[in-house]
């Protein structure tokens, strides 16, 4: 893979191993938490970025996932609930030479910080967002989250939740995200590939990681964990490949029936009728985002990857142009410009 090449020091990036990205802090997630696998995968993927360790910053909000920066031996800032996207935006505008990762969860990113998530995505700030979705509030001990299914029985909803869940992928695409993907905490090779794709994207990359909370929401993603259902429902998205899934003896295809996605037996449709995945087709991605079991497969992979103007690049280009057109600002000149008079 090509390296990211962030900042002037990129060329000098030493040869790292996973260990170089492990901090000296004890990891304090619950035993069996999906976050361990994600942490390990991220630490493992870091050397491949080709970015000097000192040029990497992890920003997080609040929640189990947001403890993440403490365990990375990079620069890190564990901030306040929901605000990490705004912190990251300010950081990028001040320091376009550092590579910024943002770690958040379904509550932090889509509930208390939903507004900031919307705006970082539409601005297309160059930040890699990792949203750990476990469909529950873990750190506050088990209340339902904005991605919990309707009717979810939790401590705060003893008779079932009354609010419909939000779909993170559909949300991100609706906000104009230029990179949207999904992976699973128990699929290490896929997670590794997605982390790299997301990290290398120019602009905001939104990666949803389906993550298991063994204490408060065990088995939330069993559909893609258990061998049999995984075989039945996992749809690997690959650019240029048709939307095919299911066991070898029962391959099925998602096709378009008018404007409605429909599941059919693969052998019943001609090749020309297959829906070939195109990462550049945002409208198609919006339809794929809504597919889920049991009526549809569960798509994992890159839904959409397009180019778009990057917020801080546009602003900093304006700054460069202003300076090249008229020279750097001089306060002494500004103070005496315009209407003045002598006494």
């Amino acid at each position: 893979m090509s390296s990211l090449g962030t900042g002037a020091g990129a060329a000098a990036a030493p040869k790292y191993t996973k260990k170089d990205f492990e901090s000296d802090q004890d990891v304090r997630w619950c035993p069996g938490c999906g976050d361990y696998a994600i942490l390990s995968a991220i630490q493992k993927s870091m050397p491949d970025l080709g970015v000097p360790r000192e040029n990497i910053v992890f920003i997080s909000g609040i929640g189990c996932s947001s403890r993440f920066p403490y365990y990375m031996n990079t620069y890190g800032f564990h901030t306040i609930h929901g605000r990490a996207p705004a912190i990251a935006t300010g950081l990028r505008l001040a320091r376009p030479d550092v590579k910024v990762f943002l770690v958040t969860g379904d509550g932090d990113g889509l509930s208390i910080g939903g507004n900031h998530m919307l705006h970082i995505l539409r601005r297309n700030v160059d930040v890699t967002i990792l949203l750990f979705n476990n469909r529950i509030y873990g750190l506050t001990k088990g209340q339902y989250s904005p991605t919990s299914e309707l009717g979810k029985v939790t401590k705060s909803t003893p008779m079932g939740s009354a609010d419909r869940p939000i779909n993170p992928l559909a949300f991100a695409l609706g906000c104009g995200a230029t990179f949207v993907a999904r992976t699973v905490d128990r699929n290490i090779p896929h997670m590794d590939a997605m982390l790299k794709r997301a990290a290398l994207h120019k602009g905001t990359a939104f990666l949803e990681i389906l993550q298991n909370c063994p204490v408060y929401n065990e088995g939330a993603w069993n559909v893609v964990y258990e061998k049999e259902s995984k075989l039945q429902f996992e749809l690997r998205l690959e650019h240029g490949k048709p939307l095919l899934f299911g066991p070898p003896d029962d391959r099925r295809a998602v096709i378009m029936d008018g404007v409605v996605p429909t599941v059919v037996k693969a052998k019943d449709v001609p090749e020309s009728a297959l829906w070939v995945h195109d990462e550049k087709n945002v409208n198609a991605a919006k339809l794929i985002a809504d597919l889920f079991a049991p009526d549809f497969p569960v798509p994992i992979g890159v839904l959409s990857a397009i180019e778009g103007p990057v917020y801080e690049d546009v602003l900093l280009e304006q700054e460069r142009r202003a300076i090249s057109d008229r020279g750097p600002g001089e306060i002494a000149k500004l103070l005496t410009s315009g209407d003045t008079w002598k006494i």
Binding site: E54, A86, L93, N115, G329
Partner: protein
């Protein structure tokens, strides 16, 4: 500047005045703000000292002719030092009945009252709630020097051969009023003629129309029989140098530019539009050449946290808002306290609570600034005294924030933000240095290692090899910065964060006392009341009273010499535009029996009422 003289007007008597207070009032659509600003520029050219008070409705286009749609611009100009826009009016221009109704009570008996008779029709009289035309009431002309002028008619007449429609022609009538009042007070027309030429360079007819109407107003004063005399106000004795008109918000913005230049650091300003702070964002956005990076954030919280993100990156993070927005920023400011990062917060106070009086002034956010966050969350609080002072205060805020790694809140207000004064342009090289040193030395590094003098922790820019570290909002062990729930460590950190703010007292110069160092009464003020208090105190001093005043720029920490000064006077009076906030601090901190003078009307305090309060307090027996 060469002395500018108005066109010759030798035929009528000219009387010399020391000062005058003029208010232009009319409908929101009548252009009163522009008229006032131009009159201010003319007065600056005439060499007078000036203070202004723009006052406009919160509604963008309030229904025409209504009482709540009235907009006004007041200024005081004089040959002596002018501290305030003035309490009572010498001259009121009332462009419609609603303006008359709202403002007449402020006109001195015998004052000049100039009205546009054409606007006093049944429809406008009804809207203003007048059953009969007040101009027909003989008492009005007895009480005031009433001048009924058909400004609309004369305005249209002056441009009758110009190819503009009726509406365009009518719109220039504010310049008729400006021309007339400029004649009355012998103001030079040149600056306004220059302004017209530049503003309407692309539409010659509009430029011609405004020029003609301005001159028509001026000539009307000269030739009409109704004005028997007019006035001159000599140039004021001001310190020599180059001057410009300066508003508070522009001064705050330019102070940041100066800080960016001196510190060689980019500034990231995060803001969400809010009255009366928005013009800071707009001003800064024009100056990208100074490496000022502005973010119009999605909300107030994003505005402050983006600034914090920038500070983490090694830039100067600044955010600005007004009270309601500051309330939303509270948690973010707490993060900067905990993470010990520099952050500058401008609070342009306005009337509250809640939405309150968005376009009016108030000083009621002092307690919010000091205590408006959860837990023990001390920050530095400073306040400018005048519009021009905002330049220095913004610069100082950046300097302190970076030196002590601490949030600094600046308490300006709507009066300072929009008000302007003739400002002696400083030599920026005389400003104190803001030398920021980022840590790069790996040996012995810890994120919360402290400078012994300031207690500041090292500021490390991401990108610095070998100093990778993590910070955050969770309590941390001193020195190492590791997460810590240890009870004794928390107590130590609470005290350390407070002590760091207290050490900013090292930066405060000796308090300057206006008057004798001991006496019967000390008046203590802060923020925008400087002018009203100083004028009142100097008047009482001229009466021979034993009164002095001090004006606090530093509200947290307070000046180290303050306790001593307070005890040198028998009584202490604290005028504020709130219901008694600084006075409570002084009583609590120094156990002095300070007395408040408090009015919360959305307007600056009147110097007269402070003068009366001084006399009353001195007259009381011990």
């Amino acid at each position: 500047m060469a002395k500018m003289v108005a066109p010759a007007t030798a035929t009528k008597a000219r009387r010399e005045l020391e000062r005058a207070v003029v208010r232009f009032a009319g409908d929101s659509g009548d252009g009163m703000q522009l008229t006032g600003e131009q009159f201010t520029t003319e007065s600056a050219w005439a060499g007078n000292d000036i203070a202004t008070l723009p006052n406009f409705p919160a509604e963008i286009r309030a229904p025409a002719g209504t009482l709540f749609g009235v907009s006004s611009f007041q200024l005081q100009f004089g040959s002596q030092r002018v501290y305030t826009p003035g309490d009572r009016l010498d001259c009121l221009v009332a462009m419609n009945p609603a303006a008359l109704k709202v403002h007449l009570a402020d006109l001195k008996p015998g004052g000049l009252l100039i009205v546009n008779t054409a606007a006093y029709d049944k429809r406008n009289l009804d809207k203003a709630g007048y059953a009969a035309n007040p101009l027909d009431d003989a008492a009005l002309a007895e009480r005031y020097r009433l001048h009924k002028v058909d400004m609309t008619g004369l305005t249209l007449e002056a441009q009758k051969d110009l190819p503009l429609n009726a509406k365009e022609k009518d719109r220039t009538k504010n310049f008729f009023a400006l021309g007339l009042v400029s004649w009355i007070y012998t103001r030079p027309l040149e600056p306004t003629l220059d302004w017209i030429g530049k503003k309407f360079a692309k539409s010659k007819d509009v430029a011609e129309a405004n020029t003609r109407v301005l001159k028509a107003g001026h000539a009307f004063g000269e030739t009409a029989e109704i004005f028997s005399e007019h006035y001159t106000i000599e140039a004021a004795e001001m310190p020599p140098g180059l001057y410009r008109a300066m508003t508070g918000n522009r001064a705050l913005a330019w102070g940041l530019l100066a800080a960016a230049e001196r510190s060689q650091l980019p500034i990231v300003y995060g803001a969400y539009p809010i009255t009366p702070a928005s013009s800071i964002l707009e001003e800064l956005a024009m100056h990208k050449r100074f490496r000022i990076r502005t973010i119009q954030a999605e909300d107030e919280i994003a505005a402050v946290t983006a600034a914090i993100g920038a500070s983490f990156g090694g830039a100067i993070g600044v955010t600005g808002s007004s009270g309601p927005g500051i309330a939303l920023k509270g948690e973010g400011i707490g993060l900067a306290v905990m993470a010990e990062l520099p952050l500058v917060i401008f609070n342009i106070q306005r009337g509250g609570p809640s939405t309150g009086l968005p376009t009016k002034t108030e000083q009621a956010d002092l307690m919010q600034a000091l205590y408006g966050r959860n837990s023990e969350s001390p920050i530095v609080v400073i306040a400018p005294a005048t519009p021009g002072d905002c330049f220095y205060i913004a610069y100082e805020a950046v300097r302190i924030a970076a030196k002590y790694m601490v949030p600094v809140m600046v308490l300006s207000d709507g009066f300072l933000a929009n008000g302007s004064e003739p400002w002696l342009i400083p030599d920026p090289s005389t400003l104190p240095a803001t030398n920021v040193e980022f840590r790069s030395e790996q040996e012995g590094f810890f994120p919360y290692l402290r400078d012994p003098a300031t207690l500041a922790r090292p500021w490390v820019r991401p990108g610095t090899p070998g100093l990778e570290h993590r910070i955050g909002g969770i309590e941390k062990q001193d020195v190492t910065g590791n997460i810590s729930y240890d009870p004794e460590n928390h107590d130590h950190m609470v005290r350390t964060r407070a002590e760091k703010v207290r050490r900013v007292a090292q930066e405060i110069p000796p308090t300057s006392i206006n008057g004798a160092a001991t006496g019967d009464l000390l008046v203590v003020g802060w923020g925008s009341t400087y002018g009203s208090i100083t004028a009142a105190v100097e008047r009482a001093q001229a009466d021979g009273k034993s009164v002095a005043s001090i004006h606090l720029r530093h509200l947290n920490p307070l000046p180290p010499d303050l306790g001593h000064i307070l005890r040198e006077y028998r009584k202490v009076l604290v005028p504020e535009i709130n219901s008694g906030q600084l006075v409570r601090m002084l009583r609590a901190e120094y156990l002095v029996d300070a007395v408040g003078f408090n009015r919360v009307r959305g307007l600056p305090l009147m110097s007269d009422e402070i003068y009366e309060a001084i006399n009353q307090l001195i007259g009381e027996r011990q």
